[in-house]
Symmetry: none
Subunit: 295 residues, 2 copies
């Protein structure tokens, strides 16, 4: 667990209560500072002594004396307390931060892996550019045919993506390397198509070659990768970056999965008619084939 250095809930009454507690013993200038603090608590972590002094009309010296009066060693100390608070706030909404460090130390690999993937998902959610996201969704829907591609671990994602797109009524094929090279399969590629690649470490050279060639032909490309600086990012028209921090060499793919699922949902919501039609037809087919076991 994290070190709450010197500010454990028991010993730290909190900035606000300290101010209230010592309100009586504050000098006029210090009071102005106190008032500003309670009114703009969230601002403090980003303010320096000179700034706060300027905003309250007091001198820098008085700001520091105020901090000491209410029980901190100085302004840095008070600020740190508030920084910790704000950090807690930020992490509070995700279950991810709960106890990753401790889990990783234990032998509970399930817990460690779970926390890790929750964090990956959280980071991805924070860092995906929504505009790019929407744009990719639109491009996917617009495309005549979506060719998905990936090698190594990324192959599973490519496969899954093609499956998903098809289920949602789009035409999609995964460029498999079973019999022919992907580039052979792309000879008939048209500008109205789209190539959707997945590139995770260890980055395959072939994926980059495909992206490069397709791009040269003027066919739209999109890539899901793990870093904005990944080699594939430079070659694709659109890049979606997902967090993929792994414990070992096997990459964490949950975030990419989430992203894919979200993409098709986005598409489905924008084009209700076409997609729900496709989905219900598929469901019906499954039933007709007695594929499904009823529950």
């Amino acid at each position: 667990m994290k070190n709450k250095v010197a500010i454990s809930p028991e010993t730290d009454p909190g900035v606000r209560s300290r101010i209230v507690e010592h309100a009586a013993s504050l000098s006029p200038q210090q009071r102005k500072i106190a008032d500003y603090c309670v009114a703009h608590m969230q601002e403090i972590p980003f303010l320096s002594v000179p700034e706060l002094a300027e905003r309250t009309g007091a001198s820098e010296a008085t700001v520091v004396r105020f901090c000491q009066r209410i029980g901190y060693t100085g302004y840095s100390d008070l600020k740190m307390a508030l920084v910790d608070l704000i950090r807690e706030e930020m992490n509070a909404s995700s279950p991810a931060s709960a106890g990753f460090e401790s889990a990783a130390q234990d032998k509970d690999f399930l817990a460690a892996m779970a926390r890790l993937e929750q964090q990956n998902i959280e980071r991805t959610l924070d860092s995906i550019d929504r505009q790019t996201f929407s744009h990719v969704a639109a491009s996917l829907f617009k495309a005549d045919h979506i060719f998905t591609f990936g090698l190594g671990i990324s192959a599973f994602l490519a496969d899954y993506a093609a499956y998903l797109f098809t289920e949602y009524g789009m035409r999609s094929t995964c460029l498999a390397t079973r019999y022919t090279s992907p580039r052979e399969q792309l000879v008939a590629l048209r500008p109205s198509d789209l190539v959707f690649a997945f590139s995770f470490p260890p980055y395959s050279r072939q994926t980059l070659e495909v992206l490069e060639e397709v791009g040269r032909k003027g066919v739209p490309t999109a890539v899901i990768t793990d870093k904005p600086t990944a080699p594939a990012a430079a070659l694709a028209k659109e890049t979606l970056v997902v967090s993929s921090h792994g414990m070992s060499f096997n990459n964490a793919t949950s975030a990419a999965n989430v992203l894919l699922n979200a993409l098709v949902l986005e598409i489905a919501s924008r084009h209700q008619g076409e997609t729900t039609d496709a989905i219900s037809r598929i469901n019906q087919i499954l039933r007709e084939q007695t594929y499904v076991v009823e529950t």
Copy 2:
């Protein structure tokens, strides 16, 4: 839901897009910094140059140079941009936007999907019986050959599982239905083998038949499914239940993924020699084949 005080990409005019934009022109060290920034955007406002340098393994000078390369005058400038963002966020969500969030979530499929999968992972973590988990891990390692099987969406999991097991030095094959039925492929099955099935709605009848037949032969079976009452659970010797609540018909598979990754980690930790040998051999092969693009 808690107030999320974080940088949201929609309102980010600068930092992220500047990084993506200039990604190509960044030097190796600068890339490391760029990657850290996008992955830990919320941290930056609280980090100093020395701290960031230490975390990324680059020098302080390089940190500053990175900021300048992507268009800021220096680190202070970049930090200010992020501070402004965080302040905006806080002001936007602080007042009284409790109801606003749910409305916003309706349209943010990425966020919705992310929360859903995080919950699935959380629930799985809570509900998996650790003893069964360990036992399955042991059985997998003990098996001469692991046959994985799944249909529909479960096929991807089966495929991935076979891949993972192989990477970790075990023998494993996914029973594909491309040319022959799975039952044909199982004629040579021996009691020292193991069949690992995946069964998610819509439950396929074929999966149940395979499990039943294999079980009759006295060959160990394990299944990952979504409910303890799922039809496959009754037929397999070992059952691992993962939470898989989905928004639409496409099942949420993140939890199953996490479980698989955790399983191989567990196995790897118990049998260090064999697995790490296999992994390092694989890594070497990848390098020899110039498959990998170095970064």
